[in-house]
């Protein structure tokens, strides 16, 4: 019935869209012509690129005051989400049975819960700030809100299915997961894959200029 459809055909369809879409976007970025830098490079771009990928993981000195909220809530959300995604017992089981063929030790229940509480608190705070902060509100597009809400709904339906006993609740979670995967490659959610690319690009440019930024 519905669960079989969602877990079967719909899941394969979304997975294909997700994989093909992400690859297509990455290849597309790769093939963008970059402006030729006529200046004589003062240094190599590679160390700059690598450094920037790491250093952009926290706020630069001058901006720290205004960005504390984002730093804290952002890490709460992302760490929580990744622990959930990769170490939640039902997810490990799903990955083992349906994707990779092997699994790993799932997080104990309490860690799963702490992680999801962090993730929920984080995404709510981030999205509310997006709505309430005058500048954040002005620079936010439909895409930002859609991505935040969709991710939240996926998390919420997953959390509602925690008793693992009702096919209907499972199917709803799976359905929202499918929606998210189809939406993913064509939205801001691509930042999960593109953030190293953009940081490396900036870092390399700075490296060639001999600037550490």
């Amino acid at each position: 019935m519905f669960l079989e459809f969602v877990e079967g055909p719909l899941w394969y369809f979304s997975a294909v869209v997700f994989v093909v879409g992400v690859l297509w976007r990455l290849v597309d970025i790769w093939r963008q012509p970059s402006r030729t830098d006529l200046a004589v490079p003062r240094g190599s771009g590679v160390p700059g690129a690598l450094r920037t990928i790491v250093t952009r993981s926290w706020t630069a000195k001058g901006f720290s005051r205004g960005a504390t909220f984002h730093l804290v809530a952002g890490y709460m959300f992302h760490i929580g989400l990744f622990v959930l995604l990769i170490f939640a017992a039902p997810h490990v089981k799903f990955i083992e049975e349906r994707i990779l063929g092997f699994g790993w030790t799932p997080a104990p229940h309490w860690l799963f819960m702490v992680a999801s509480d962090l993730a929920f608190a984080g995404i709510l705070l981030l999205w509310l700030r997006r709505l309430m902060h005058p500048v954040m509100r002005k620079i936010s597009t439909f895409d930002d809100h859609a991505a935040a809400i969709l991710t939240f709904v996926v998390m919420l339906t997953g959390c509602l299915a925690l008793l693992k006993s009702h096919d209907s609740l499972r199917a709803i979670h799976m359905l929202t997961v499918c929606l998210l995967m189809v939406y993913f490659p064509f939205s801001r959610l691509m930042h999960a894959f593109t953030f190293p690319v953009s940081r490396a690009y900036t870092g390399a440019a700075m490296g060639r200029k001999g600037v550490s930024a």
């Binding site: 229940h109 309490w110 819960m113 925690l162 008793l163 006993s165």
Partner: protein, 211 residues
């Protein structure tokens, strides 16, 4: 119509835990779940007594009244059963039950108890009797096979009685009469020591014989 009841005769129970073991074995009860347990009062002291206790299949069951999803039902025999497909593992039945019968599979971190499990009077649960699904969820359905609960069947001293409440009560009444006037006729000495029974003039008072 039979009204199923358990009764544990404290003068006979020797805390062998045979009933507990029989239950776990018969129903493949998971670790950590005790559908039946034996509690000993004043362990190792004078007046020590043991009682085997499980769900008592209350006539007006508190668990049934309190369950937020209303998943309990009572069979025509008065056995209180519940539907694990409906149960949400909230634990309210455990708070309400006088006897601590409802059990939960996990320790309940973050209140995430699994589905409740309890003694079924060996009567399974909803669904087809002794179907693979019923056996997996609730254990064997002996009542459907015309048998009585395994715990009482296994009891070596016949301390634990199970069956139609009238019959159980009759047996117990006979025992009490045999041991002497109610209230005076209890005690291991009276129950098992023939000499003491004779000396107290109580021997042979009861006409009936024990089962």
């Amino acid at each position: 119509m039979a009204r199923m009841k358990f009764l544990c005769d404290t003068e006979r129970c020797i805390e062998c835990n045979g009933c507990v073991t029989a239950c776990k074995n018969e129903h493949e009860v998971p670790w950590g779940i005790n559908r039946r347990r034996v509690v000993t009062i004043n362990d190792g002291e004078k007046g020590e007594r043991s009682l085997s206790v499980a769900c008592m299949h209350c006539s007006d069951a508190p668990c049934m009244a309190v369950c937020p999803v209303d998943c309990f039902f009572q069979t025509a025999d008065g056995v209180v059963l519940h539907d694990k497909d409906i149960c949400i593992g909230c634990g309210y039945c455990f708070y309400a039950c006088p006897f601590g019968a409802p059990q939960f599979p996990t320790g309940g971190v973050f209140g995430s108890r699994g589905k409740m499990d309890k003694c079924t009077f060996c009567a399974g649960g909803p669904g087809e009797a002794n179907s693979a699904e019923q056996v997996r969820k609730y254990g064997r359905n002996r009542l459907a096979e015309g048998k009585l609960p395994i715990c009482a069947e296994m009891c070596a001293t016949k301390a634990l009685l199970a069956g139609d409440g009238d019959v159980v009560a009759d047996i117990f009444r006979q025992r009490m009469a045999y041991r002497g006037a109610a209230g005076l006729g209890t005690g291991w000495g009276v129950a098992y020591d023939k000499g003491l029974r004779k000396a107290s003039g109580l021997d042979g008072k009861a006409a009936g014989k024990e089962d």
